[in-house]
């Protein structure tokens, strides 16, 4: 926020509150596809939106509770396959999309608890390795259970969402608007959690698990709640993306997806909701537009370099650079602290004035 602070300082105070910022960002997001009037761009926004949901979910596990999860794509897979199996010709089940949003989130949350339970005694590196394993096992399982999951071909012809008789069809716009709504919901819930008894317990565990236990925090159930909440967000993302692509297949949920989402957190600022959203959008744009366009440009000027092939190298360089120069992310959560300190200075000034007044009165 330090980057933006000089700009926002000129705004009237009413527009400087987080609430105004959120409303402004939401309005801009709502207007984007209508300004762009470009199908490919709207399509990108809808896909990127699903990844914002994933990043918000992973942020609860990694950013709030400090549990390093390297297999988060597994929950995304479980959410997506839940939708695919319950809204496709695969088993002839066609439950409504809006019901499945909740069902898929609940299923993902249950798997979050199932994974969380045996790993709770682990910390740091060990937890990361076990979640990494889970992230490998889940897509492999979907690959091998071909009589139910269609194996490597996945499940196709998924139902499209219908809202008040309007079928979403193949136009990306309604999907984008829906995803935007889900992001608003997810960000609101995540922010509520952050400023609640549960959110404080997560952060206490992140900071010092032993001290947290001494506050009467049941670290076991609190960590399970983090896994469950994080996983449930990926259930929303899974439904949204699966219904838009109308296809799920195991290769959408490999290890690189887990790393991609984690990189969004590192880039944007772990634990900070606006930061995570921005980081997620930047990496999605890099993947979809910036790298291919730059490659095209280089081809045009006669350089035969394909940046899209070395995108993981580029992400790696970005992450290492961030770690070296700005480990707290682009928009770190310390922002809040800075804001509040400013408020404190105001209060102190006011208090000093008050003292002067009382002196005068006496």
């Amino acid at each position: 926020m330090r980057l933006i602070a000089p700009l926002t300082a000129r705004l009237p105070p009413a527009l400087r509150t987080p609430r105004a910022g959120t409303a402004l960002a939401f309005a801009a997001a709502l207007a984007l596809p209508f300004i762009g009037r470009n199908g490919a761009f709207t399509n990108f926004l809808a896909d990127a939106g699903a990844f914002v949901l994933l990043a918000l979910g992973l942020n609860i596990v990694v950013g709030f509770a400090g549990l390093l999860d390297l297999g988060y794509a597994a929950f995304f897979a479980i959410g997506s396959y839940s939708y695919a199996m319950l809204a496709s010709p695969q088993f002839g089940i066609h439950l409504p999309f809006w019901v499945l949003l909740f069902v898929a989130s609940a299923i993902a949350a249950i798997f979050g608890i199932l994974l969380g339970a045996p790993t709770l005694r682990l910390r740091g590196d060990y937890l990361a390795i076990v979640t990494l394993g889970f992230g490998e096992i889940v897509p492999q399982t979907f690959l091998n259970l071909s009589q139910w999951t269609g194996g490597p071909n996945g499940i196709g012809s998924l139902d499209q969402p219908v809202l008040f008789g309007y079928r979403f069809g193949f136009n990306p716009l309604p999907y984008y608007l829906m995803v935007l709504g889900l992001i608003a919901l997810a960000a609101w819930l995540a922010n509520n959690l952050r400023t609640s008894r549960l959110g404080r317990a997560w952060m206490a565990i992140r900071e010092d698990e032993l001290a947290a236990a001494h506050m009467g925090i049941n670290t076991t159930s609190t960590k399970l709640a983090a896994f469950a909440m994080g996983a449930s967000f990926s259930g929303l993302a899974g439904c949204a993306l699966a219904s838009k692509l109308q296809l799920v297949s195991p290769d959408q949920f490999m290890f690189n997806v887990s790393v991609f989402v984690l990189a969004m957190l590192v880039l944007g600022g772990m634990g900070n909701i606006p930061g995570v959203i921005v980081g997620s959008l930047i990496l999605s744009a890099l993947e979809r537009f910036i790298l291919p366009q730059t490659t095209n440009f280089m081809h045009n000027v006669g350089l035969n370099v394909d940046l899209t092939n070395s995108r993981f190298l580029i992400y790696g360089v970005i992450l290492v650079t961030m770690m070296l120069f700005r480990p707290e992310g682009l928009i770190p959560s310390r922002q809040r602290n800075a804001e509040l300190h400013a408020g404190q200075a105001d209060r102190r000034a006011a208090a000093a004035e008050g003292e002067l007044l009382t002196e005068v009165i006496h």
Binding site: L193, R200, E207, A211, A213, M215, I217, N218, N337, Q344
Partner: protein
């Protein structure tokens, strides 16, 4: 009335007996201290009381409940709070959030309340913030409400840690070397603060190396050496006990 009772509590780590058949009682409403040379087993005794270790033998009872083998979080919720020898605050949380976390066991918001910020949650949270602000004022941190704990000065961190412990409304407060690293003026403030805490009806049990402070403030002192209790009594009795003098100064050659 005995608030805390330890009966024959023993803690072995492999071949080492850190605490050996310790019998010990704390009366409700008192200020008591445990002293002894380094490695005497004082911190281990604290860790046994708060459930970090389960004793190898013996039993611990608190306010009439047998808490031997209980989980730390359960013991804390029952009314035992503590501070740590090396301060263990939640560094990247504000002072008030540290204190609010201390209130955890006294708050009731469940997952749904936390997710949706229900009216019930808002009311509870508002009251909790009021209490937390009052607590910060009580320990003298009214000017650092929103500062990250890690950015506070050392002596201030010590007071915040006490405030966080008090926020859980404990019956018994354990202070592990609260005066360590403090200058004389901070120590005087600490003595006053501990007395104020006791005046709130909270029993205080401290480990401390600063003998002047211990002698000034404690009503009863227990002396530990090599995991065994070698003396017990009021400051005057302990000060003149030959075993204590020997443990601290070494036996004459």
């Amino acid at each position: 009335m005995a608030l805390l009772t330890m009966e024959g509590v023993t803690q072995r780590f492999g071949g080492l007996t850190a605490v050996d058949a310790l019998d010990f009682t704390i009366e409700a409403g008192s200020i008591v201290a445990m002293i002894g040379p380094n490695g005497a087993g004082k911190s281990t005794a604290f860790n046994l009381i708060t459930g970090i270790y389960t004793p190898s033998a013996g039993r611990i009872a608190f306010a009439g409940t047998d808490i031997t083998g209980w989980a730390t979080s359960r013991i804390a919720a029952l009314g035992i709070a503590r501070t740590f020898q090396n301060i263990r605050l939640f560094g990247f949380m504000s002072a008030i959030d540290n204190v609010l976390t201390g209130e955890h066991a006294r708050l009731h918001a469940n997952l749904v309340d936390s997710l949706l910020h229900t009216p019930r949650q808002r009311a509870e949270e508002g009251a909790a913030r009021e209490r937390a602000l009052a607590m910060l004022a009580f320990v003298g941190l009214e000017d650092a409400v929103e500062s990250y704990a890690r950015n506070l000065a050392y002596g201030v961190q010590r007071r915040l840690e006490i405030g966080r412990a008090l926020a859980s409304e404990p019956k018994l407060l354990l202070l592990d070397e609260p005066a360590a690293g403090m200058n004389p003026s901070e120590k005087r403030d600490l003595v006053a603060l501990i007395r104020k805490i006791r005046d709130r009806g909270i029993t205080v049990f401290l480990i401390e190396h600063d003998m002047a402070l211990v002698m000034e403030i404690s009503e009863r002192i227990t002396v530990l050496d090599h995991g065994e209790k070698i003396a017990e009594g009021d400051p005057a009795q302990v000060r003149s006990d030959p075993k204590v003098i020997e443990a601290y100064l070494g036996s004459p050659a």
